[in-house]
């Protein structure tokens, strides 16, 4: 029996080896079996045979017998690549039949497995845009709406974060690694831009809101801003909150923060450009003209945590946003007004969604703010400016989703955190920040130390010529 098994193993060696030494090898095994008796000896014999087979059989396929190598060398032409001849006889008919059957079985099995694995048919490869785990997806580049225009390059994107191509089929609902071949998005940049130092003496203004909110005025691809410090342009480009911008201003040269004002006029041929796309274009412009290099890092510093005053209870002026309500972020500026409209909806909330905006106040001493469809984090971003807090405010309410709010208060400059307790006593004309937060929104501020992400300017220069 053992001899037959080894004879079968020998069939896996190359023909030239079997022919030369097959009988000898079999005889050697017979000899060992005769001489090495007992269970332990037999076990060791088979261990030796298997280990020897595992190492020598693959190696033997790499050994070209001198006889065959000589034949091959005779047929090789100088410098022309060619195969080495490993066998000197044609394959038998039976071998051809077995090879064909095995190949067909392998191809068939692979096709069935690929077709049914994860319930994603092979058709998804051919431009259907489905993104299945372990599949390759071809997303054709088109010139349709939302798709980038320009060259037709493609790039191979490996596993890792999903790459979303605007206008291309969604890649949601898939897990695991995938390889996507996606159309390369052209770099977002303004087509023409002018940067010059302000000399006009006009008041600061811009044709779109430059804050971190989503409020936006469609401008047909034009960006016009005048008499603003570089710090404001940076704040717009990197979507900084007022607190983040203030922290950055403390570390940049004076001419960046407030010292010098600039007029920037830029235009893109992408007429339906979004606010975030315009931010990206501004980043590129600042990098090019001001050689601006930035990075983000986390620093431990005193902060205020914005928390619920009473667990699970919101104030009367803070309500969860209803997705069913109409909500437009496109702010229509009146040409003559040059300021956001203040239309409100039921509850006194602003009509426009996506950003914190000023509302008509009850008395001249007071300030009234409101927003619809914003995250609490966006509210937290505006609080340092309202109360002159001197430190960032972090959303620690645990509230998810988006909310509508209205907040009216007397913005009293704050000198120290302990002033919070005296707000109600010192403000006779209306509530201070802490009181307004608690009474109107059901929120309060807690002083603590925490890691805060800040923007750091690594390099900046005065602008190059247009």
């Amino acid at each position: 029996m053992s001899e037959k098994i080894y004879a079968l193993m020998l069939r896996l060696y190359p023909t030239h080896f079997r022919r030369m030494y097959g009988e000898e090898a079999l005889q050697l095994v017979r000899d060992r079996m005769r001489d090495e008796r007992g269970l332990w000896a037999k076990a060791r014999l088979w261990w030796d045979l298997l280990a020897d087979f595992a190492t020598s059989a693959p190696r033997e396929y790499g050994n070209v017998p001198v006889r065959l190598a000589g034949v091959a060398a005779g047929r090789r032409m100088g410098g022309v690549p060619s195969f080495w001849i490993l066998e000197d006889e044609p394959m038998r008919v039976g071998t051809w039949v077995w090879a064909s059957v095995l190949s067909l079985m392998l191809v068939g099995t692979s096709a069935v497995l690929m077709d049914h694995a994860g319930g994603h048919p092979l058709g998804s490869f051919a431009g259907a845009g489905r993104n299945a785990a372990g599949q390759v997806q071809w997303v054709p580049k088109e010139s349709g709406a939302g798709m980038p225009q320009g060259d037709s390059d493609v790039e191979l994107v490996g596993s890792g974060p999903r790459t979303h191509t605007p206008g291309a089929p969604s890649s949601t609902g898939s897990t695991g690694n995938s390889i996507q071949v996606v159309a390369a998005e052209p770099k977002l940049e303004f087509d023409v831009a002018s940067v010059k130092q302000s000399k006009s003496g006009d008041g600061p203004n811009a044709n779109i809101p430059l804050g971190p909110g989503d409020m936006y005025v469609p401008t047909g691809g034009n960006f016009v801003a005048k008499n603003l410090s570089l710090s404001v342009y940076i704040m717009f480009a990197y979507k900084m909150s007022p607190g983040e911008a203030a922290a950055m201003d403390e570390e940049v040269p004076g001419w960046v923060a407030t010292g010098e004002k600039y007029d920037i006029t830029a235009k893109t041929d992408k007429h339906d450009v979004t606010k975030d796309e315009m931010r990206t274009m501004m980043q590129a412009l600042l990098a090019e003209r001001f050689k601006l290099v930035m990075h983000r890092e986390t620093r431990q510093m005193p902060v205020y945590g914005l928390v619920l005053a009473k667990a699970g209870i919101l104030g009367p002026k803070l309500v969860a946003h209803l997705a069913s309500e109409p909500c437009d972020t496109a702010l229509q500026l009146a040409e003559e007004q040059k300021a956001p409209p203040t239309d409100t909806v039921a509850g006194g909330f602003p009509k426009v969604c996506g950003g914190v905006m000023g509302l008509p106040e009850s008395t001249p001493e007071m300030t009234k703010l409101g927003a619809r469809n914003i995250h609490i984090g966006q509210l937290a971003q505006v609080l340092p400016g309202l109360g002159n807090l001197g430190r960032p405010v972090q959303d620690q309410t645990g509230l998810t989703g988006t909310y509508d709010f209205v907040l009216e208060l007397v913005p009293v400059p704050r000198l120290a955190p302990t002033d919070a307790a005296n707000d109600s006593a010192t403000n006779t004309v209306g509530p201070g920040l802490e009181q307004a937060l608690r009474q109107q929104l059901g929120l309060k501020l807690e002083s603590k130390k925490s890691g805060v992400e800040v923007w750091v300017v690594d390099h900046v220069e005065r602008p190059t010529q247009n």
Binding site: Y13, M20, Y21, E24, L28, R32, A57, N63, V64, P65
Partner: protein, 111 residues
């Protein structure tokens, strides 16, 4: 060109050369001799044994001779070139051992 199988000389091939120094041997005899001269640490399987034998034959380091006892078995003999190579390899290893001993990597009187 196919890779030269005996450059450097594999330990299995060197042991086969040593096994043939005293007398001609057939395959099984070589296997037993190698096992004995290595204290059982090297047990050549048929694949490794005959692959090495073929390489040594092709290089002219051993030669096939007519069997005296059993005509069915192929018997091999060390050639002059094989003997020369075995001596050179032994000298090389002795040199390595001298260095190892001088560096105190190897202790004891091995050479």
């Amino acid at each position: 060109m196919p890779k030269r199988r005996l450059d450097p000389l594999p330990s299995a091939a060197f042991q086969i050369l040593l096994a043939l120094v005293e007398e001609d041997q057939h395959g099984y005899g070589i296997m037993r001799q190698v096992k004995e001269q290595t204290g059982g640490s090297m047990r050549l399987g048929p694949g490794t044994l005959y692959s090495s034998i073929q390489a040594l034959l092709e290089e002219g380091l051993i030669a096939e001779v007519e069997a005296k006892e059993d005509a069915r078995r192929r018997t091999y003999r060390l050639t002059r070139a094989g003997h020369k190579l075995a001596c050179a390899e032994a000298e090389r290893l002795a040199g390595v051992l001298r260095v190892a001993r001088a560096r105190r990597v190897l202790r004891g009187d091995y050479v």
